[in-house]
Symmetry: C2
Subunit: 444 residues, 2 copies
């Protein structure tokens, strides 16, 4: 399996000033910059890391150790001449290089959205001996602090020239490489000419048409100073929202849940703990409904729904996602739904003793698990995730998924319309099940 | 992709007498013998078939056509000299053989359990050029009509000698081969020596240590006469019971459902139609419960549960299994459960007006979908099917799966113990969910 080399030799003066820590160890939303890159690469299947240290080698070593804590293997190479340039640091890997090996080279202080790294590694496997692959961004308008970037002039996926001062350019260098021995040879050549930066060596390969570009399609940033640090925080938080998010979740819940996640990030709170908290809030909501306080019941239901997003966000943020967590969340969400609906029905029935309540309650209770049941059975049978956009048609706007259902419950409570909310839940959940059964049959 | 050659040239006198059809076209549980082999191989990913005809070539061609009906491609080779021996028929494939190709060779009148063919094809991919792979059975005590079989003497997975009259043998030939060009060369040699059977050629290869054996671990039979036909029927029916069957299903439901499946096999009844019938019976059961006839309600619940096995059996029997069928069955089963529980609660409540009934009903309704929900979510998250033996521990004997739950409902109705049945359902379904959550956490 491929190894990754992380360049962490520089001084990073501008951030040191604010954080009193070497730049790779600056914590961003609960993980140091270097930890985030290690864990992201681990998600892509890379388990062996070589960290090249310079300025703050002892701090970095004592922070990461042998990698055990992160579930990876870390070895260190020290470059006492780190001040000469990052090319000299990168060349230190020559001592450890195994003939014919391909390796990832990444800057410790660049932050990437996970999907950017995943896409890069997926393409990396196809690179030819003698070439290198460089992650580049051609969406120049979106690039943060263009001035500080290393620019690239490219033609047809191959870099022609690189440089910080390049005037004629159409992409920038993102600091993520897939290297072959060719890079080490180029570094050796350049260092013997007293040209000490990585860009010098890459430029030489580019002139031989050997630097292939992978154009990044997700967010990334070079964390250099306080504004870029703040920008990185926002970028990482935004990336935690899953692509297939419900409507209510997207326009309402995520606005709050991301703030909570940001707050929780610096603590040791785990996703499963948040899952439990969300369940408890639902249970309290059910009690308020049952005791005849629908206003509080409704508000708490919405709070619970917001917390229901936080567990996943923390899981993705800190690379703590687990299958068990997903299962626990799914089961507790169902129980939370059941309790709230029973609470609503109880309060209504104890007032009216109308048996229609019981019917509505039974219909809502049986409808609640149907959305998930159909999705998961579909996934298990076909091996493909269920995509509401494909199979729900215009019914995907029905608030029958959890974020929508909890919103209905909130409205029912806050507007004191518990019976209407119960009936509505009963109708939409079963309607969605029928629509799914029908549409899947047509499209399968 | 690999092609399969089917030998269907013989006369098969003994069965002709009973069925008034050429042996490959004799229908067994709704499919002709040759159709069953084609569809089984199709499930293993084989789509191109070459059928070698002799005696009844026109009947066979008009029965199967170009394979469109079965979703495969069929071409025919006719051997007018079929009476000489099956080696001559097999050698007819020489005309179509593509240099270096590996192909499956199967007798049209042998019936195999699907998993036997699957295991054979899985091993077949590893066979070397110059060798052939032969499915053999060394469980001599289980072999049907040992006298009629071609015997094999083997040592360390390689056949040394074959023959119908062999005295010293330790396995028998199952009539399923994975061939390379080596077989056609051996057939050519033997035919030029006026030795016309397949066994002559295979024997020659065996003497050169080129016949590797694959030992079959599932049922198979050579259908030759009426007793072996009856035996094949039983064997195929038995194979329809899934390996992970519930306790009640295994000891009770399957005994009846297999009889129904046998009856339905000769009709065009589809699995989805049976799924609907099973649901309707449940709905009628719910009405009987609600109207105060628990005896009929209970009995119908058990009948519905039995029919719930028939859809899957017919699907497997006729190779009609579909993901959509699985989904439809899952959803309708849940609705059937819900209706019956509501019916039970209604009858009890209308008599007593005791609110405890409502609690029991809500608890049972919410518990019912949990068994499936946990299983499917587990499957979707981990990519592995949920295996009760691993994760339920001794709680796997809890009647909380559908066969068990329907049995409880039947007992509740027949013994006029509806309240007890409802409570019991409520307790065991939630208990099972908790046990699963706990055990999965320990074992995941």
């Amino acid at each position: 399996m491929m190894r990754a080399v992380i360049l962490a030799a520089g001084e990073g003066k501008r951030l040191r000033h604010h954080f009193k820590a070497p730049k790779p160890l600056v914590r961003l939303l609960g993980l140091s910059l270097i930890e985030r890159n290690i864990l992201a690469l681990k998600e892509c299947g890379i388990n062996d890391f070589v960290i090249i240290t310079g300025c703050y080698f002892s701090e970095i070593q004592s922070h990461l150790g042998n990698g055990n804590k992160l579930g990876v293997n870390i070895t260190y190479l020290h470059n006492p001449e780190w001040e000469l340039g990052n090319g000299v640091s990168a060349y230190t890997f020559q001592r450890e290089y195994r003939q014919g090996e391909k390796f990832v080279l990444i800057m410790s202080d660049h932050v990437f959205e996970l999907k950017a790294i995943k896409a890069f590694i997926a393409e990396a496997k196809k690179i030819n001996e003698g070439e290198i692959l460089l992650a580049a961004d051609r969406r120049l308008k979106n690039v943060y602090d263009l001035m500080e970037c290393t620019k690239i002039k490219f033609e047809q996926d191959y870099a022609l020239e690189l440089g910080k001062e390049l005037q004629d350019f159409n992409a920038v260098d993102c600091g993520l490489f897939l290297c072959t021995g060719a890079l080490l040879e180029a570094l050796s050549d350049k260092i013997s000419q007293c040209r000490y930066t990585l860009t010098d060596a890459v430029n030489m390969l580019a002139s031989k048409h050997r630097v292939k570009l992978h154009f990044i399609n997700a967010a990334w940033i070079d964390v250099d100073d306080l504004p870029s640090y703040r920008h990185a925080e926002k970028m990482v938080l935004r990336s935690l929202v899953p692509p297939k998010d419900g409507f209510v979740s997207r326009v309402l819940n995520r606005k709050v849940s991301l703030l909570i996640t940001k707050l929780f990030a610096r603590t040791g709170i785990t996703p499963n703990q948040v899952t439990f908290v969300s369940f408890l809030i639902s249970a309290v909501s059910a009690v308020f409904f049952a005791l005849g306080y629908p206003l509080y019941g409704g508000m708490l239901a919405q709070v619970s729904s917001i917390f229901d997003g936080v567990d996943g966000e923390i899981g993705r943020l800190k690379f703590l996602k687990s299958s068990y967590g997903g299962l626990l969340d799914a089961v507790l969400d169902r129980y939370a739904d059941f309790l709230i609906v029973i609470g609503m029905a109880y309060s209504w029935y104890s007032k009216t003793e109308n048996t229609v309540v019981l019917l509505a309650c039974a219909a809502a209770l049986t409808g609640l698990p149907m959305s998930m049941l159909l999705k998961e059975k579909f996934h298990a049978l076909t091996g493909r995730p269920f995509i509401p956009e494909s199979y729900d048609g215009i019914f995907r706007y029905l608030p029958a998924n959890r974020d929508g259902r909890m919103f209905i419950i909130m409205l029912g409570g806050v507007l004191n319309l518990v019976p209407a909310a119960l009936f509505f839940l009963a109708v939409i959940t079963h309607l969605q099940a029928l629509v799914r059964l029908y549409n899947i049959r047509q499209l399968m």
